[in-house]
Point group: C2
Chain length 374, copies 2
């Protein structure tokens, strides 16, 4: 029991009375009709068109008067529809989860679905146990938010077997077994470098993402592509790469350390492209510590546009992922899957790519004479 912090306790008793449960039968009784009719009316089922308006009114009145609330479990049991969706976060601590989660919750809410939350804590066994739980609860779909993962198709096989639509955000499985929503990382990488290049920077350092992260390769590819298209040659001595690490904040530490190393080696650069925002913040910390001013002496660009980026000083120029929108999209995808599955139709596995957007803030600036490369 985590019970560390000293805490005091004020205490007052609360009496527990008997739970008064109003069932449909009660509504039926007080309204003078049968449960069947009540059900039909209250759900506005197809048959409701034949029900006399007077009847409807009476039933609705009775329901309101009694404060009737349908029992979701009973309903689910019969209708086989739980109206819930599993939302699995690989690590809720990652700041990039939050906006996605909002997007998911919001779209689900609009569609009258309830999200059942699970946080895998970056652990495979928790991931699997949570999936198990979601299956038992008969979620109608699953959304997985991750930017890396240990998970292979195997683990999601049970979902496929039961025709439960699955969508991943920020990560995708090889093959066409599971739908996914990702930002166009390549375009994003391109945007970042293009921005700095246009500002006149020619000595640019890069902190690549860890190999484990699916985003790393395409972002780097976008950078390379822009470089070659612009005739810019990347100085390999200015290229570093984050080690694999699970903790979301490892990007910050990594960015800090790699930048320090770069500085210790007396490498000269006027700009730095970081794998993501946390890495960029780590880099800025290292630069600041070394007395190098951002952006005056060195520009820094990040990726993601997490909440912090706008609030750090200097605020961070970054490539924004439309995170909330990605959450919305994932919900659209699984919703489509659900209706298809309901109608015993096939549905389409889709791989959506959202467009990243360059957000220019304070951390980047046109190259100046007084830059760190002198």
């Amino acid at each position: 029991m985590p019970d560390d912090a000293g805490h005091r306790d004020g205490g007052v008793k609360r009496t527990s009375g008997k739970g008064i449960t109003v069932t449909m039968r009660d509504v039926a009784q007080t309204s003078g009709f049968s449960p069947a009719t009540v059900s039909i009316v209250l759900n506005n089922a197809p048959l409701a068109q034949y029900i006399a308006p007077a009847t409807k009114k009476k039933i609705e009145e009775a329901a309101r008067k009694l404060g009737y609330r349908p029992n979701a479990m009973a309903r689910f049991l019969r209708s086989k529809r739980t109206h819930s969706v599993g939302v699995m976060l690989i690590d809720i601590t990652d700041p990039f989860c939050t906006p996605i989660l909002r997007g998911i919750e919001n779209s689900l809410y609009q569609a009258s679905y309830a999200p059942i939350l699970a946080d895998a804590h970056n652990q495979k066994n928790r991931f699997e146990r949570a999936l198990e739980m979601l299956l038992e609860r008969h979620v109608e779909a699953l959304i997985v938010v991750a930017n890396w993962t240990f998970v292979d198709i195997h683990v999601l096989a049970d979902f496929n077997k039961r025709n439960i639509p699955v969508a991943t955000i920020g990560w995708e499985l090889p093959g066409d077994t599971v739908s996914s929503v990702m930002v166009d990382n390549e375009a994003g990488g391109r945007l970042a470098l293009e921005h700095l290049y246009k500002l006149g920077h020619r000595k640019i350092a890069f902190i690549r993402g860890p190999k484990m992260l699916i985003d790393s390769a395409p972002r780097w590819k976008g950078i390379q592509k822009f470089a070659s298209s612009a005739g810019y040659e990347i100085d390999q001595t200015l290229v570093t790469q984050l080690p694999d690490g699970l903790d979301p904040s490892s990007g910050f530490d990594g960015g800090f350390r790699l930048t320090e190393e770069l500085l210790q080696k007396r490498r000269k650069f006027t700009a730095l492209v970081a794998f993501d925002d946390l890495t960029a913040l780590g880099a800025i910390r290292a630069l600041t510590k070394a007395g190098i001013k951002v952006p005056d002496q060195c520009s820094v660009a990040g990726f993601d546009d997490v909440a912090l980026s706008a609030m750090s000083s200097p605020s961070l120029t970054t490539v924004r992922q439309p995170l909330e929108t990605m959450g919305n999209l994932a919900v659209n995808v699984i919703l489509e899957g659900i209706t298809a599955s309901q109608e015993k139709r096939d549905w389409t596995i889709s791989h959506q790519r959202t467009s990243p957007e360059l957000v220019i803030r304070e951390s980047t600036r046109a190259v100046s004479l007084s830059s760190a490369d002198d």
Copy 2:
């Protein structure tokens, strides 16, 4: 439908087959026993002590072979236990929610409860509709995460009426109707000022929290108490207050603006105590913009220790709320309520206070001669 970002679509068909549902009856049949026995064995019910070991083994084997997974809905319907807990966030965007959420999820997971998530978006009607949804789903308890709210007891009355335990985090209702978990704000306020005072600061600016937030008053009270106990007189011309605002990031803007105003009025101060971390970051932004170095010329202290605080430059000295622990505590509280309610006992409404902790980072420093007050 939010569908803004340009996105492409790759598509492959997925065939939907018939859903193979393994029920308890199936297990009963293949194992050669009755559903009743199967239930008893698989749940390790009291009666299981009388079941022959051989029988148990056979049943468990059959269940495993068939890949039997109990249908949670059916179980819930009969046993009246949903094993789910509603988690209502007043605004998921608030960075202080994330660690709390992790704490909640984690403790719930340990106790085999599933969190059903709801995000009120700071809107009363969404709050209420979400509560409705949670009631229909028969959550066994409710946890509300908020630092302010429009909600009065009235809205939670339905929960009380049904004896569903409720706990709030970061906020509490007047009276003893609902349990709560909060940081000891007064102690926290004291810690912040004490820290700066001990560093030698005597010209200290304050940005008080908005009246609407429940945290504001006690934090200020703690500050005042320390001041008077230390014989330090607060300069009222250095005291400002954030306006009420719903958006979680309004603290940042407010901190920025109020600090700018202070500077424009040419008020001299060597340190600033901000209501919370975002406010502090806003203040730092303003100071930096005005050419005042933090912490060299002005120290800044925040409150909360949200994730950003460690990563901003300079990193933020702050008063930490044990957020994750508070999530854990809230779960303990409602768990106790649930068992009590189950056993038709009364349970205790408790008001927990966790101890804040001073986290000293880069943004504060002993007062120096070259400070901004010269």
